[in-house]
Amino acid sequence: MQVTWKPTIVAFCCNWCSYAGADLSGTNRLQYPANVKIIRIPCSCRLNPMFILRAFQKGADGVILCGCHPGDCHYTTGNYYARRRMTLLFSMLDFLGIEKGRTRVEWVSAAEGAKFAATMNEFVKTITELGENRRLEDLRCKE
């Protein structure tokens, strides 16, 4: 592995809590690595497992979903569904031998700017240690 390699990380953030939490960490100038790119979705339950696999296929090294804390969902129940879906998906990825920790779910409220930054720092560290995503990539995208 090259020393200069930096992982590509996709963070899906729900519009109401986590995206606002990410904004707050910006407002507070809390640093986290630039490899994290955020995609705004209305609710964590909008995250289709296909989006995660698509990200890995196209070369992402880690995918994280952030949503409102359970019980605080703007749509009352969205994150509960997301939680089940992600649990099962992650378990399947684990079953297929994908490294533990490439995927993650974290509940971040709009007030938790610090938690957002800390989570991202930690996640980037984990993924950097895991190295490049080789098990879920599409070889065609490695040019």
Binding site: L53, Y81, G97, R140
Partner: protein, 325 residues
């Protein structure tokens, strides 16, 4: 099983059903094809039931449900679960079917017989638990248990969950099926071992879509993998797409809807144990959200369309014991 053909004739004669969905005799003793019979004559000529009637007829009920009149259908226990699941998702109409439940002792797989080195088979007879197979090269024998379809070896239930009439005895769930043993064995491996196992298996995939098309839970009008407008289509068996995307999503999409009928593995021309992916989801669902059997009833909420406020967090996957690494 005695009486299946007679029942078909009787139902047509009595007018209880306008047609019968069953199995048609083939060129050999093992190549039964699901088929629709509209007259007694056809039944007399072509209807056949036996240990090679492994095909699950419930998916054909979707098409039959659109026809006028009543279709009589023969359902084995695992097929009946699929039927109820289809009913639950409004894919079939109950009043369109006269369901004859057929008890089943396990169905045989010609591929297993071939794998045992038996070729040129022309006839078979059952002698207790031994299969006597006549071939053009002479007589061969094989234990029936060795010739069973993969799904029948770990039969989950002999209970017919839906029927209008029963041929044979009502059966029970088989709690000792050990159907999760293989999943557990894989779970105990290291991620590297699991990865190489699945790479080995899934890389054989030729994307013929038989697993998807045979699946009674795959009832989409257009599959996401055929949907060009969505941008998720992919026809090719190319560059890890099957390993990294197709089979994961295929299994995910039937999660909490899959009745574990085992058709996916039965039809795979490359003998990939696809049912293990479905079973992994079933096992996880049972363990994390309480026991659930798709197709067991019409009322219960599928676990993926349900939640509890105190459900485990996704990180449980990484914290659970058992698996190394």
């Amino acid at each position: 099983m005695q009486g299946v053909k007679e029942k078909a004739l009787e139902l047509l004669a009595s007018g209880k059903a306008q047609r019968v969905l069953g199995w048609k005799t083939g060129e050999f003793f093992y190549d039964l094809t699901p088929g629709v019979f509209e007259s007694a004559e056809e039944v007399e000529r072509e209807f056949e039931y036996g240990v090679f009637a492994g095909a699950n007829l419930s998916k054909y009920c979707i098409a039959e449900s659109k026809k006028d009149g009543v279709t009589a259908v023969f359902l084995k226990p695992c097929d009946a679960y699929s039927f109820v699941q289809l009913l639950k998702e409004y894919k079939v109409k109950r009043e369109k079917f006269y369901i004859v439940g057929v008890q089943c002792d396990g169905m045989c797989d010609m591929e297993k017989i071939r794998a045992a080195g038996i070729s040129g088979a022309t006839a078979v007879s059952e002698d207790g638990d031994t299969l006597k197979i006549s071939t053009i090269y002479g007589e061969e024998t094989m234990k029936k248990s060795d010739a069973l379809l993969l799904k029948c070896k770990t039969c989950k239930s002999k209970k017919l969950v839906i029927f209008d009439e029963l041929l044979g005895e009502q059966g029970e769930d088989c709690p000792e099926s050990h159907r999760f043993d293989e999943v557990e064995r894989l779970e105990r491996l290291s991620p590297e071992e699991r990865f190489s196992f699945w790479r080995g298996e899934l890389s054989r995939c030729i994307r013929c879509n038989a697993c998807r098309n045979v699946c009674p839970a795959c009832t989409c009008e257009t599959c996401v993998f055929d949907n060009h407008n969505l941008g998720t289509d992919n026809k090719a068996a190319a560059s890890d797409f099957e390993e990294n995307f197709f089979h994961i999503i295929r299994a995910f999409h039937v999660t909490s809807r899959c009745t574990d009928c085992g058709e996916c593995s039965r039809v795979c021309p490359q003998h990939i144990p696809l049912h293990l992916l479905n079973r992994k989801f079933i096992k996880d669902t049972n363990e994390l959200y309480g026991a659930y059997q798709a197709g067991a009833d019409l009322e219960s909420r599928p676990p993926l369309m349900d939640f509890r406020k105190d459900d485990c967090e996704p990180s449980v996957v990484y914290e659970r014991g058992g698996a190394k690494g």
